[in-house]
């Protein structure tokens, strides 16, 4: 298992975590950022990459992914160690620091142990897990999948995509040129995806199977066939298929962090005015942090990250003060 030693560990590579990483470097700390997703950007990159954001100071409007790219560029100045596809699972707090153990999402990867003087939890809504297809049985990984990291894996397959939102529509469109056939199954006639994608869908060769639900998946070692049921008439028919891609939304979960002993309220971590949790050397910022009067906005999260890192400074080096002076004087 890899060992990493840094001054501060940030859990979550979303906008607040990235800004916290930049700011930790600005205060002279070494920093590592851990996230269970394969890419940085958190909710912005996973859910709203094409949406404009209107509450970031200095930007009248900024596209989600553009903001992530700029935050990453800014964070790189602090030379952070990025630990992606790693889920923070255990914590031990000692007199001098904190040890966090992480489990990798890729099989065969042994995970990582991080030794830090303090931890900043910027975990947003928690980890994202795809919602399971209710009729999916135990076919996950055997023809039933929730992500398509390499489109080429499905070249020549007969594919059924399930869902009505952006990810279902985007996957159907992306697979159409290389799959043998693509059908999109949704339980209503209208799709919730971006207008432009829906227009593309209607011009494509993707077969729209609506309003239908997948009620059963059949096969031996792998998916061979599914049963589809009309939502109103309840009429059923079967369809031969090799791959089912279910894109019916995500569930978030605090996961193992919920067991760390932090005081929680409605899945948020309670913090004081310095962003400190009830655990020594553990701070929280962004959507995951909760206090009286909290307003969950990205601009507030940035401020919370700066507050937390400044209050972490004396824990990293007893000679360091909380107040950094003005950044314009420091550079």
């Amino acid at each position: 298992m890899d060992e990493v030693t840094v001054d501060v560990l940030i859990i979550g590579a979303g906008p607040v975590g990235l800004y916290g990483a930049y700011y930790a470097g600005f205060r002279g700390m070494s920093v590592a950022v851990i996230d269970s997703l394969p890419e940085v950007g958190g909710q912005l990159a996973a859910l709203y990459p094409e949406k404009n954001i209107y509450d970031v100071a200095g930007f009248p409007a900024v596209r989600g992914q553009a903001l992530v790219d700029a935050l990453l560029e800014q964070a790189q100045q602090s030379k952070p160690t990025f630990l992606l596809e790693q889920r923070a699972t255990t914590i031990e707090i000692h007199d001098e620091g904190v040890t966090v153990g992480a489990v990798a999402s890729t099989p065969g990867d042994p995970g990582v142990t991080v030794h830090a003087k303090a931890v900043l939890v910027a975990g947003g809504m928690g980890t994202f897990e795809p919602k399971e297809l209710p009729a999916g049985g135990d076919f996950a990984g055997r023809g039933l999948r929730y992500f398509v990291p390499r489109l080429a894996d499905l070249a020549g397959h007969d594919v059924v995509v399930v869902g009505g939102g952006d990810s279902a529509v985007d996957w159907a469109l992306a697979l159409e040129p290389l799959a043998n056939s693509v059908a999109l199954v949704h339980r209503r006639d209208a799709f919730r995806a971006h207008e432009k994608s829906v227009a593309q869908l209607q011009e494509s060769s993707v077969e729209l199977v609506t309003p239908f639900e997948v009620v059963e998946v059949h096969g031996g070692d792998a998916v061979e066939r599914i049963t589809l049921e009309h939502v109103e008439s309840k009429e059923q028919h079967q369809r031969d298929v090799k791959t089912v891609v279910a894109a019916i939304g995500f569930l978030t979960d605090l996961g193992p962090m919920a067991e760390w002993g932090m005081d929680l309220k409605r899945r948020r971590i309670l913090v004081d005015r310095t962003q400190k949790t009830n655990l020594p050397r553990v701070f929280a910022a962004g959507d995951i942090a909760m206090y009286e009067g909290k307003v969950a906005l990205i601009s507030v999260g940035f401020g919370e990250a700066a507050t937390a890192i400044n209050h972490i400074a004396p824990l990293v080096n007893t000679k360091w003060k909380t107040t950094p002076g003005h950044s314009s004087d420091a550079l």
Binding site: M125, G164, G165, R187, R188, R192, I248, L251
Partner: protein, 105 residues
């Protein structure tokens, strides 16, 4: 604070909101969906997903729909459900809030 389902959902129950909700806090009643205010995290994804425009943030409820904040809240108390931590963990609600049950459209 939480999002609130209102009467436009009654007898429609499109359920697109359920697919969007990242914390599974939207419960199915016989005639209407209900958002559990103890579990809602205010992310706002359900609001634009609803084709009947029945979901509002508690603070944005139209004046003639303000009673629905209490309706969404009390149904979980009167049915003794509380906060099970996700709609998938329990069967659909056995009954509607009495005002919803007797609602005439």
């Amino acid at each position: 604070m939480a999002y609130v389902v209102t009467d436009a959902c009654i007898d429609v129950q499109d359920k697109s909101c359920i697919e969007e909700c990242p914390v599974d806090c939207i419960y199915t009643g016989p005639r209407m969906m209900y958002i559990n205010p103890e579990e809602c995290v205010d992310c706002g994804r359900c609001e634009p997903a609803c084709p009947t425009v029945s979901i509002y943030h508690e603070e944005d409820l139209p004046a003639d729909r303000e009673q629905f904040a209490a309706i969404n809240e009390t149904v979980f108390i009167t049915l003794g459900i509380g906060s099970p931590g996700g709609a998938r963990k329990i069967p659909p609600l056995a009954a509607d809030h009495e005002e919803v049950a007797s609602w005439t459209k």
